[in-house]
Every structure is written in structure tokens, then in C-alpha cells.
């Protein structure tokens, strides 16, 4: 079972992905550990396309739901659906692509999303501190980086500016 950082701890992940981002599975997690056995999974994180085309069926399926978004995803397509999602995963195609930091902040701040906000994709452990401050409370990193990523959550002891994630539990 894959491990993730969540609320400051390294924990097992009980979510499966449906139609995950291309490159995510192969590059950023160990393939074998990617999928949680179906009987143990608590829900599925689906793509935006999948959600838009299968909305009715997914809502009827009685499983917990999550959705993954990209930096350029049009939030207006799902704003009214946010209460259906326990998890929103934001995909970072490259660690230098900082759109996800703003997307996460918008979800928390402008749209008051209360569920799990999870960063997935190409991330450096060095970015955990910033991710947490942008409202993320979970992140997937390469397995070898997990411990270091968790430690990086305490890189700084003070902040100059307000940010939406400051009142959240630790990432």
C-alpha cells in the first residue's frame, strides 16, 4: 500500500485513482504500491473528465469520492460539486510549475473547501513547507523522499505574511 504524508504523519493511503495523471504513476510512486486493494480502499480519486462524464453513476455508487485537478483546470466546472469530494488532489506536472500553489489557496480561501487537499506529482521535499501554507494537508512524494519531506515541514519557525493554510493542521 502506498504511503503519503498527511497531517504531519507518514500514513498508508486508502485512496485509489481512476484515470490518474499521465506520468504520475510511473514517475512519482512505486508502481506496485500505487493501488490499494479494492476491499481496503475507502474511495476513488477520479479525473475531471471522468467526473464530468460519469457524474451520475459516481454519485450513485456510494463510494467516497475525490477528484484530481491540474493547474489550468477550470474550477467553475465543479464549484457546485465541491461538497461531494472528500479529497481534492492537485497535480504538479513539474516542481517548477507553481500553479498548484494558487489553485490550492483558491480552493481553501475563495471556495472554502474543507476536505483533504492533497498535492501529487513532481514535488521536491523542499516545497512541503510552502504547500502546507497554501492549504494542503496531504502530499505524495517519491517513497525515498517521504521522511525528508516530513522534516522539511519545519524548515521555518516564523512567517512574514498571512497565508490560508496557517490555521490548518500540519501537512
Amino acid at each position: 500500500m502506498p504511503k503519503i504524508i498527511k497531517n504531519g504523519d507518514i500514513v498508508e493511503d486508502y485512496w485509489n485513482y481512476i484515470d490518474p495523471p499521465k506520468g504520475f504513476v510511473a514517475a512519482y510512486t512505486e508502481k506496485t504500491a500505487m493501488q490499494t486493494p479494492a476491499q481496503e480502499a475507502i474511495g476513488a480519486i477520479v479525473s475531471l473528465d471522468h467526473w464530468l462524464s460519469q457524474r451520475t453513476q459516481l454519485l450513485a455508487s456510494n463510494t467516497a469520492l475525490g477528484i484530481w485537478l491540474e493547474g489550468h483546470s477550470d474550477l467553475s466546472l465543479i464549484i457546485d460539486d465541491l461538497p461531494f469530494f472528500d479529497v481534492i488532489a492537485v497535480y504538479f506536472p513539474a516542481f517548477t510549475d507553481g500553479r498548484g500553489f494558487s489553485l490550492g489557496s483558491q480552493l481553501r480561501e475563495r471556495y472554502q473547501f474543507q476536505g483533504e487537499l492533497r498535492a501529487i506529482g513532481s514535488l521536491l521535499p523542499d516545497q512541503m513547507y510552502y504547500l502546507h501554507r497554501c492549504g494542503f494537508n496531504a502530499a505524495v512524494t517519491k517513497p525515498k523522499d517521504l521522511q525528508f519531506a516530513r522534516e522539511a515541514l519545519t524548515d521555518f519557525s516564523h512567517n512574514y505574511q498571512e497565508a490560508c493554510g496557517d490555521d490548518n493542521p500540519s501537512l
Binding site: 493547474g71 507553481g98 500553489f101 494558487s102 489557496s105 510552502y130 521555518f156 516564523h158 512574514y160
Partner: protein, 561 residues
């Protein structure tokens, strides 16, 4: 001047430690070149043509004596005995070795300096008016707002991986000496009719490959909303700015592609949602920030008596008179003056300053200007609070240290990037061109006759020397592996002496020239100006005004004749 509190010290220290860990991981192979690159850039470390380059932040250009002395020490111990003042008021070391960088950063931290966010795709050092707090035409002192924005933008979690670099300039006077129209965001502090402070917010200005004058996104933003509004602009840019092509990734391109109306609407929408989530800047916050820049203990001076004495000295010592005329600015406190030390004597790479000179500046600041100095966008140094009764003595010191060339605002006060001699991006050398022009126009009388004129030289399209906005701009270009120079005329960024201060981007004169033809070309341009300018009694029409009146064709005919 702003002094660190315990949080600033802690944060800079933690940043140094974080960077040490990152460097170690890079050395052990845990971080790849590609991964380490943005991390080191955001700590000011470039890899250049001959050596690494370390860019050190000078927030809104302000330095105090102990910092100048520390820089002198660093230049001697870790570099070749000099450093360089950039067009964004920062300091650069051109020859440090990578292994020394952590020690340099640690030494800098002792005097409240660092290299955080001086490079990379993040919010860069805030730049401002070097005469902030002392200019007679000041509406609002910009320094407290600069400090507020500096703190807000430092290690901002949301904006450390933007599509491209992001530069903010703040001015607070009727004359914009901070080039706000040529920044990603320009803030012009103003007062409304009730005296409430706010700012006009400009967005999407910039030079580089696509020079654009900024558009106004908000005519009057009340000061209390400054930070949430900046957040809204940056957020719109961060989400929508192009990331597919680095040359189209600046906010100016987004504003151009969306149109200012749609862009403003997107910002307004975002801001309406978030403005109540952030604490507004309270009068207490502003007063506290103003407290960092309290008025120094000025003496009571009889301005009219000192004025007479200065006139007398100027007659007796013409060189002093010229210096007064060109290098000395009026001050809002009677009897005080703001003095510019010229870093542009002939033979000196514009903006370069040696360790000995840094120490001299520290000495002058300590004895004549309450221990503070400001670096300028024009790559000079301003001592903002000099007592006029001491100006003559000051001038003698400045002269013996080589700082008193009375050429501020003249042809030889050249803004010049490091160019092909140092910079890995450059297409052509820029310093030798500057030196050639300086030595050709060494005659002070001729320079004075030419009057106010700006000449900037950039070694490539990135336009670090802002050649587009100079009255005469020179741009290095590469033609089949050879260095050529394109000349532009008519740019304007608050040009001294011009009747119209509207910012303008220069137009290309014609085909580019090889280096050896540049002096002749400049000579033709200047001769054309002198032939056509209006001269009535004491009035001499400025270069820019003459250019606007007679137009490019006349210059073109003469140059390409």
C-alpha cells in the same frame, strides 16, 4: 532605516541552513542539476561565463555603514576586490567560488543582508526612489510601504514558482524616479482628496524582448488593501500566465493577451473574494513601518545664508559649481541636500565599486549623512542627507575618492549591464562600448552643452540596462557569431530636462553597427541634435524634446548618409 527584529534574524538564519542542506544534497547527488537550479537561483546564485555570480539583495536600495564595510571585506576576502551595483539597486559579486557562498551568506547575515529571491521565478527585490523621504516633490514616503511589501513577498508560499520573474517598484513623488511603468507591478503612492493614502496600481510593464509600458489596473487602491490586492494580481498571473514559452511568460504578455479590461476584471473578482480573508493594514501597522524610517536629527540651517555661500564657492571653484549643478539634489528640509556619488568616471565599468571605495562611502555616510546611503537604478550611490554647510568639504573628499565626476544625468552617466565580459546570456560586450563613449566624451564643457541626456547599453535582448527607455539606447546583438549593436532613439524614463515625462520606448534607428562604428554613430546623432535644437538665451532644448520635434528621419539621414 529598517533594522532586523528577532524574527528577521531567525528567518535569514533558517534560510541559510536550508540552503546549506540543499547544497549538500546537490553535492551528494540527491538533487539533480535541474532540481538544484531554481533553489540556488532563489538564493541569488548564478553560474556565469567565468565563475558563479552572487546577487545580494539591497531592499529598495538602502544600505548603512556597517553593511558597506562588510561588503568591502567580502569583496576583498572572497572576490577580486570589487563588486557591482545593478540597475535594480542590488549588489553583485562576479567572482566568488561556489564553496565560499555559504560563508559569504553567513557573513552577510551578520549585518542583516542576504541573497534571498534576487533571482529565479519569484518576487524579486522591491525597488524604489533613491530620494524617498527627502525629495521636495514627495507625496508619500515610499520606504515604509517598500518594507511592508518586502516582508510580505519574502518566502511567500504561493508565489515562489511563478511562470517567470516578478518585479515590483514603488514610488511616492510627483516625478516617478522608480520606473514604475516598466515593472511587472508599479505602485504610485498618492493621496485622495481627503488626504487618505492609497496607490495607483500599474501592471504589465517591462522591457526585455517585448518592451511594454504598464497599464493601470486600479486608479486608487486604499492603502489598507495593498497586500490582498497584490495577492489577487499575483494569483491571477500564477494561474493563467503562460508557462509554455519562457519569452512569453511575463505578466505583461498575459495582460496583453487578455486585454487590460479582462485582466482587471479577473483581479477584481479574485480580490472581492479574498480581501476580507486577510487582515487589512491598520493605521498602527503603517505607523509602525513609518517608525523604521524616522527623521534623522536634522540641524536648523539658515537656507538663504548657506545658499549664498554655496553660490560664492561655486563661482570661486567652477568644478564645485558643476558638481553642485549636476550631482546635488534639493531636499525637503531647508539647508540639506541629497548628493549623488558618480560611479561613472571615465575608465570605470559603470556601477563597479572597489572595496576601498565602499569604505570611503561608509566614511562619508558616517560623517556627512547619518550613516545611510542608497544605491540607484542608474548604478550610482546617493547620500540623502548632507548639510549644505558641509557640501564643500564633502566634495573635496568625494573628489579625492573619484566619486565627484560631475556627470549625473549627462551622456557619460551610462547605465550598462555587465554584458559579454561576464554574463552568460549576453550576445555582445557592453562595458567596452561604455568605456569608449566615456573616453570620447571626456570634455566636461561639451557634456554640459549637450545637457540632460540618457544613454543605456544592454548586451542582449534581456535589456538589463533598460536601453529601450534611454534617449539613446544601444543593444548588443549577435549576427552570425559577430557582435553588432542596434541603436534606438527617443526612449524616456523620467528624463531630466525633458518637458514631457510620459514614459516612452525608443525606436530603432536602423540596421545594426559593428562596435568600431558606434562612436561615430553617436557623434552623428549628437551633431544632428546640436544642429537642430532650439537655443534661446539661456534656454537649450533637450535632446529628447528635439528628437520629438524633428523626428527620427532627420537623425537617420545623417547617420546613414
Amino acid at each position: 532605516m529598517y533594522l532586523y527584529d528577532k524574527y528577521d534574524h531567525k528567518l535569514v538564519q533558517e534560510r541559510v541552513e536550508q540552503f546549506e542542506r540543499q547544497t549538500e544534497r546537490f553535492i551528494t547527488g540527491d538533487l539533480t542539476d535541474e532540481q538544484f537550479l531554481p533553489l540556488r537561483l532563489q538564493n541569488g546564485l548564478y553560474i556565469q561565463r567565468h565563475a558563479p555570480m552572487l546577487r545580494i539583495a539591497v531592499p529598495y536600495g538602502m544600505l548603512r555603514t556597517e553593511q558597506l564595510k562588510k561588503m568591502a571585506h567580502i569583496c576583498r576576502s572572497y572576490d577580486k576586490g570589487y563588486c557591482h551595483i545593478t540597475t535594480r539597486q542590488n549588489l553583485q559579486l562576479n567572482w566568488p567560488s561556489i564553496k565560499d557562498v555559504p560563508s559569504i551568506l553567513s557573513e552577510l547575515a551578520h549585518v542583516e543582508m542576504h541573497a534571498i529571491q534576487t533571482s529565479g521565478n519569484c518576487i524579486r527585490n522591491i525597488t524604489s526612489d533613491p530620494l524617498a523621504g527627502v525629495a521636495p516633490d514627495e507625496i508619500v514616503d515610499s520606504r515604509p510601504y517598500c518594507e511592508i511589501v518586502r516582508q510580505w513577498s519574502t518566502l511567500h508560499p504561493e508565489f515562489a514558482f511563478l511562470p517567470r520573474k516578478f518585479k515590483i517598484a514603488i514610488s511616492g513623488s510627483t516625478t516617478d524616479r522608480a520606473a514604475t511603468a516598466f515593472h511587472d507591478i508599479g505602485l504610485q503612492l498618492i493621496k485622495d482628496k481627503n488626504g487618505a493614502v492609497g496607490c495607483k496600481v500599474l501592471v504589465g510593464g517591462g522591457l526585455g524582448r517585448t518592451p511594454i509600458i504598464a497599464s493601470t489596473v486600479c486608479d486608487f487602491l486604499p492603502e489598507q488593501f495593498l497586500l490582498s490586492y497584490l495577492c489577487a494580481i499575483l494569483r491571477v498571473y500564477n494561474r493563467l500566465g503562460r508557462r509554455d514559452n519562457k519569452y512569453k511568460a511575463r505578466i505583461k504578455i498575459l495582460v496583453k493577451e487578455m486585454g487590460i479590461a479582462d485582466f482587471s476584471q479577473a483581479v477584481e473578482q479574485e480580490w472581492q473574494h479574498i480581501k476580507d480573508n486577510y487582515s487589512p493594514l491598520t493605521p498602527k501597522d503603517i505607523t509602525q513601518a513609518q517608525g523604521y524610517f524616522s527623521t534623522p536629527p536634522y540641524q536648523q540651517i539658515n537656507a538663504s545664508t548657506t545658499g549664498e555661500q554655496l553660490d560664492h564657492l561655486a563661482l570661486k571653484h567652477p568644478e564645485f559649481g558643476r558638481w553642485l549643478q549636476r550631482n546635488v539634489n534639493h531636499h525637503k528640509v531647508p539647508g540639506y541636500r541629497a548628493v549623488t556619488l558618480s560611479l561613472k568616471p571615465t575608465g570605470n565599468a559603470p556601477g563597479d565599486i572597489s572595496a576601498e571605495q565602499l569604505e570611503t562611502v561608509a566614511y562619508l555616510a558616517e560623517h556627512f549623512s547619518f550613516g545611510e546611503v542608497r544605491t540607484t537604478h542608474q548604478q550610482n550611490i546617493v547620500l540623502a542627507d548632507v548639510n549644505s554647510n558641509e557640501l564643500f568639504t564633502f566634495w573635496q573628499y568625494a573628489q579625492s575618492a573619484g566619486f565627484a565626476t560631475p556627470n549625473i544625468g549627462t551622456l557619460t552617466d551610462i547605465i550598462c549591464c555587465p554584458g559579454g565580459d561576464f554574463c552568460a546570456l549576453a550576445n555582445a560586450k557592453s562595458i567596452p562600448i561604455a568605456e569608449k563613449i566615456q573616453s570620447t566624451y571626456d570634455d566636461i564643457d561639451y557634456l554640459y552643452d549637450l545637457g540632460d541626456i540618457s544613454l543605456n547599453i544592454s548586451g542582449c535582448m534581456n535589456a538589463c540596462a533598460h536601453h529601450h527607455v534611454a534617449n539613446i539606447g544601444i543593444l548588443g546583438v549577435d549576427k552570425k557569431g559577430k557582435e553588432f549593436y542596434q541603436v534606438t532613439l527617443g526612449g524616456n524614463n523620467n528624463s531630466r530636462g525633458a518637458t514631457n515625462h510620459k514614459p516612452a520606448i525608443g525606436k530603432v534607428l536602423g540596421k545594426a553597427f559593428p562596435a568600431n562604428e558606434i562612436p561615430n554613430v553617436i557623434d552623428c546623432v549628437l551633431t544632428t541634435y546640436l544642429q537642430h535644437r532650439i537655443e534661446e538665451d539661456a534656454f537649450l532644448e533637450s535632446f529628447l524634446d528635439t528628437y520629438k520635434r524633428i523626428g527620427m528621419p532627420t537623425f537617420k539621414e545623417n547617420v546613414y548618409a
